[in-house]
């Protein structure tokens, strides 16, 4: 059923972001002028409106800012996964990402848990998700 889930939508803003996830890399957009780092790709820096955009690799770790265990899926493609975890993760670099927490112990997640990025295939592409960092692992 995975194939029915939304696949990444590539546009001029997000081309580099989704090209990177295809290689199992999570990248962030950085302002070459003020240094602001952000997750949602866009043409200008939301802080200083500079058009000098660069990309940087995220280390792929973060902590759980909040989460919800979903019992009523918004689309049929997610129905058989219920219950599943939707979360907001504070990445090590600062930006916040919305994602799923998957894998062992996902349903036992609590705020503050350390997580590390992993990738789920969606058609030809991949979306970044996170799993709980192993004890002693993570950063």
């Amino acid at each position: 059923m995975t194939g029915q889930r939304p696949e990444p939508f590539v546009n001029a803003d997000s081309e580099i972001y989704w090209a990177a996830t295809k290689e199992s890399r999570l990248v962030l957009q950085e302002c070459a002028d003020c240094g602001h780092v952000d997750l949602m790709p866009r043409h200008v820096c939301p802080k200083c409106w500079s058009e000098n955009r660069t990309w940087t690799d995220a280390v792929g770790t973060g902590t759980v800012h909040s989460f919800s265990i979903v019992h009523r899926a918004p689309l049929p493609a997610f129905r058989e996964d219920c219950p599943y975890v939707v979360a907001l993760i504070d990445l090590a670099e600062g930006p916040r990402i919305m994602t799923n927490i998957v894998g062992d112990g996902a349903l036992e997640v609590v705020i503050g848990d350390r997580v590390e990025v992993c990738f789920e295939d969606r058609g030809e592409a991949k979306v970044p998700q996170f799993r709980l960092a192993r004890a002693g692992g993570g950063s």
Binding site: E7, M40, V70, R72, P74, P83, V86, M98
Partner: protein, 391 residues
């Protein structure tokens, strides 16, 4: 600088709500028209007196140029017309735009209306899927994130930072339902208990179905005119004392905080314009798409301290006979929710309470009311302060 430009310049002179609940024999436009007629009938004005119209949007009848479509349907040819698309904040923002248009001479009598047939004009799956589109199409929707899951993450963070309990959240829904029980036009009128809320079907933990707003067929309308003209009409006018809007984000992933939102700023602006403070509010009609939302708004608007809403609700302070009655009509949790009309019923209720028309639902003190609307995921905010006397 103190912005008092709109203080006591306009009044709401008519309010109306359509049939509410499951109304399969009416269209969304029809629900708007019925509410508009009921609002106009209160004033003694004629349809031809209306020279301005503001509406919002409709998911079940997604016309292009909805404002113009609404005018056409109602046979109006206004000199001022726009469609506000700031989600649930739209009905309150309409009043601000209407007031600005009236004060600047663009129109004199403005109809503000919203609503749609969300209960019967689409299937439940269509409703849930359409609402999922509020999530970012590229960075949120691929994760199966629903609107309840967004508000659930906000709820969980509130519980984490302030110790808000599951029982306190449930009490918000219970108190709101108790108010709806006394409303002759409310969608849900069966009393509920804290245990029933906590044991109701989980939607997105920690939110259960009874923490979530309804999906109703409903339309609401109000009519705004100058403070001067209001005095000559059949109905008791309710004056606008202060109003402010603030827009901080749309998607939750881009919100600066999960506990601090734009209502702090809209409250500050509304209080400043009115020359009043939170302690002057007799009652409040707050946006309540989910049980945590009116609690966050109480805190941001200074009606209690940060993190103090849970205890206030638990103590019964927000009941109709409490220190600060909240959502006296039953809110969106129990009275009605139909797209942009959700928050409009809070405005209608405030007007009726201020007039002293509510019978067994009437609050004891009814000189000044606060109404707050929010849209998106606590993204767009508008606070208004209304009163029955010019001040």
């Amino acid at each position: 600088m103190t912005d008092t430009t709109l203080r006591n310049r306009v009044a709401i002179v008519g309010v109306g709500e359509s049939e509410i609940g499951k109304v399969p024999h009416m269209t969304g436009l029809g629900l708007n028209a019925q509410a508009a007629k009921r609002a106009l009938d209160e004033t003694g004005l004629k349809p031809s007196d209306i020279d301005g119209l503001l509406t919002a949007y409709s998911m079940t009848e997604p016309y292009f140029m909805l404002g113009s479509v609404m005018c056409e349907y109602l046979g109006l040819k206004p000199t001022f017309n726009a469609s506000m698309v700031v989600g649930g904040a739209s009905p309150a923002v309409m009043l601000k735009h209407a007031a600005e248009a009236i004060v600047s001479g663009q129109a004199e009598v403005i109809l503000c209306c919203a609503g749609e047939n969300r209960a019967t004009g689409q299937t439940r799956d269509q409703a849930v899927a359409a609402l999922a589109a509020v999530g970012h199409p590229y960075y949120e929707q691929p994760y199966g994130a629903s609107i309840p899951s967004f508000y659930a993450m906000i709820t969980r963070r509130h519980m984490h930072e302030y110790g808000t309990t599951r029982e306190q959240l449930a009490q918000m829904a219970v108190t709101t339902r108790d108010h709806a029980v006394r409303h002759p036009n409310a969608h849900m009128t069966k009393p509920i208990t804290v245990e029933e809320v906590i044991n109701s079907k989980p939607i997105a933990e920690p939110l259960n179905i009874l923490d979530c707003c309804l999906i109703s067929d409903a339309g609401g309308a109000y009519i705004v005119t100058t403070a001067e003209r209001a005095k000559d009409l059949k109905s008791d006018p309710v004056y606008l004392h202060g109003i402010g809007e603030y827009h901080t984000h749309e998607h939750l992933m881009c919100a600066d905080s999960l506990t601090e939102f734009g209502a702090l700023e809209t409250g500050r602006r509304a209080y400043t314009m009115a020359g009043l403070g939170p302690e002057d509010m007799d009652f409040a009609e707050l946006y309540d798409c989910f049980s945590v939302v009116p609690m966050i708004e109480m805190e941001e608007l200074g009606l209690c301290e940060r993190g103090g809403a849970g205890a206030m609700v638990e103590a019964g302070d927000t009941r109709i006979d409490g220190r600060l009655p909240v959502n006296t009509h039953g809110g969106m949790l129990s009275h009605a929710h139909a797209g942009a009309a959700g928050g409009l019923f809070g405005i209608i209720e405030a007007v009726r309470q201020l007039r002293g028309q509510e019978g067994e639902r009437q609050v004891a003190n009814h000189d000044v009311a606060l109404v707050h609307n929010e849209g998106g995921i606590l993204s767009s905010h508008c606070t208004m302060i209304l009163g029955r006397e010019e001040r």
